[in-house]
C-alpha cells in the first residue's frame, strides 16, 4: 500500500475508494495513468468557458473552484474542489467547457488525457462506475448549492457551506471538521453563496457571536457540530451516500 500511496495519483485512488472498493489491479490502473504534473498559481485559470480541453485534471494539492460570470462582471462560484478531486472529467465527454475553473490557492495538478481516461473506463468498468458515482456526488453537492442560493437565509447558507466544506476536508484527510482552515476570502464566500462581502462578514460575525464558530483569520473551529449543522439544515448523507456499500450490493463481482 505504501507503494500506492507514493504514486502522485494516489489522491485520486483515495477519492474513488470513497465510492467503491477497487482491487489492486484497478488501483494500479489508475495510478499508472500517464499524466503531467503542473504547478498552478493562485487565481490562475485551469479551464475557461468555451475551452475544448483534451485533458482532465486531478488535484494533488491545493484548492480550486468552478465559476460562471455574468455580463456585469458578477461571478457565481459553483463548487469548490480539493485534493483528489477530478476537476473536469465531464469535458472528456462534453467537449466544450460550459464554465471556468480557477485556482483558489497555489495548486499542484496532474493532467490526464481524455483518451487515457476513456481507455481506463473501458478496460476497468468498476473504475468507470466509481468515476460515475463521483460525478453523482458532485451533482448532489450542486443540488445543495441551488437550495442554498435559492431558499436558505444568509445565516443558513454560510452555516451550510462551512459544514459541507468541513466534512469534505475530513473525507479527503485534510482536516478535522471541527477545526480547519477555510481557504476563502469574504469575497469568495460571497460568490459561493450569492451574498455580498459585507453581508458575509456580518453573517460570520453573527455565527461567531452565537458561539457557533470561533474564527481566527482563516481558522474555523466549531464548538458544537450539531448546533452549526442545525442552523445550516445540513445533513451529511449526500456527501457519502455509498457508505452502506450500495455499489458492492449491486455489483456482479463483489469486492474481494
Amino acid at each position: 500500500m505504501s507503494e500506492l500511496q507514493a504514486s502522485s495519483l494516489a489522491p485520486l485512488v483515495r477519492k474513488l475508494q470513497n465510492w467503491s472498493h477497487l482491487d489492486d489491479a484497478e488501483q494500479r490502473a489508475v495510478l499508472d495513468l500517464p499524466h503531467k504534473q503542473s504547478s498552478v498559481e493562485r487565481g490562475s485559470y485551469l479551464l475557461r468557458e468555451g475551452d475544448q480541453p483534451r485533458t482532465s485534471c486531478v488535484i494533488l494539492s491545493g484548492f480550486s473552484y468552478r465559476q460562471k460570470c455574468v455580463p456585469d462582471g458578477g461571478m457565481q462560484i459553483l463548487s469548490v474542489h480539493m485534493k483528489g478531486d477530478l476537476i473536469d472529467l465531464e469535458t472528456c465527454l462534453l467537449g466544450t467547457a460550459d464554465h471556468s475553473v480557477q485556482a483558489l490557492t497555489q495548486m499542484t495538478v496532474a493532467q490526464i488525457s481524455s483518451e487515457a481516461m476513456m481507455r481506463l473506463i473501458a478496460d476497468y468498468p468498476k473504475v468507470g462506475m466509481a468515476l460515475w458515482l463521483d460525478t453523482l456526488v458532485d451533482s448532489s453537492i450542486f443540488r445543495e448549492w441551488i437550495v442554498n442560493v435559492g431558499r436558505r437565509s444568509a445565516r443558513e447558507r454560510i452555516a451550510h457551506l462551512l459544514c459541507e466544506f468541513a466534512v469534505r476536508l475530513e473525507q479527503a484527510d485534510l482536516g478535522d471538521k471541527c477545526d480547519y482552515e477555510l481557504p476563502m476570502t469574504q469575497d469568495q464566500l460571497a460568490d459561493c453563496t450569492g451574498l455580498t462581502s459585507v453581508h458575509v462578514n456580518r453573517t460570520l460575525q453573527g455565527l461567531d457571536a452565537d458561539n457557533l464558530i470561533v474564527r481566527n483569520k482563516r481558522s474555523v473551529k466549531v464548538p458544537d457540530w450539531h448546533m452549526l449543522a442545525d442552523v445550516g439544515g445540513f445533513q451529511s448523507q449526500y456527501l457519502n451516500p455509498f457508505q452502506k456499500g450500495i455499489f458492492e450490493r449491486t455489483s456482479s463481482s463483489p469486492a474481494s
Binding site: 503542473s38 498552478v40 498559481e41 487565481g43 490562475s44 485559470y45 485551469l46 479551464l47 475557461r48 475551452d51 480541453p53 483534451r54 485533458t55 485534471c57 493532467q111 437565509s153 444568509a154 476570502t185 469574504q186 469575497d187 451574498l195 455580498t196 462581502s197 459585507v198 453581508h199 462578514n201 456580518r202 460575525q205 483569520k217
Partner: protein, 93 residues
Amino acid sequence: MLAKESFEISLPEMQRYFFRLVDDQSALDDPDGSELLDANAARARALLEARSIMKAQVDEGCLCLGCRIEVDNEEGERVATILFKEALEISGF
C-alpha cells in the same frame, strides 16, 4: 489542452479597499478587503453592500437607516461613505 499559457493571468492593476459596516453602537471591520479597479468602483460596491445589508435587515424585520458603509483604501484613507438613508429613495409615507 491545458496549455501553459492558460495558467497565466493578466488583469488590470487592482487596488484593495476595505468596507466597514458602522451603526450607532458598533463597527464591523473588514479583515479581507476587496480588490477593485479604483475608488469609483469601490463606491459603487459600497452602494451595493449597503442595499444588500438593508435587504437582510428588512428580512429580519429591523431596518437601520442610521447605518453606513465606510470605504478605506490600503493606506487607510477614507474614499467613500455611503449612508443607508441615502442609498435608496423612500416614498409613500
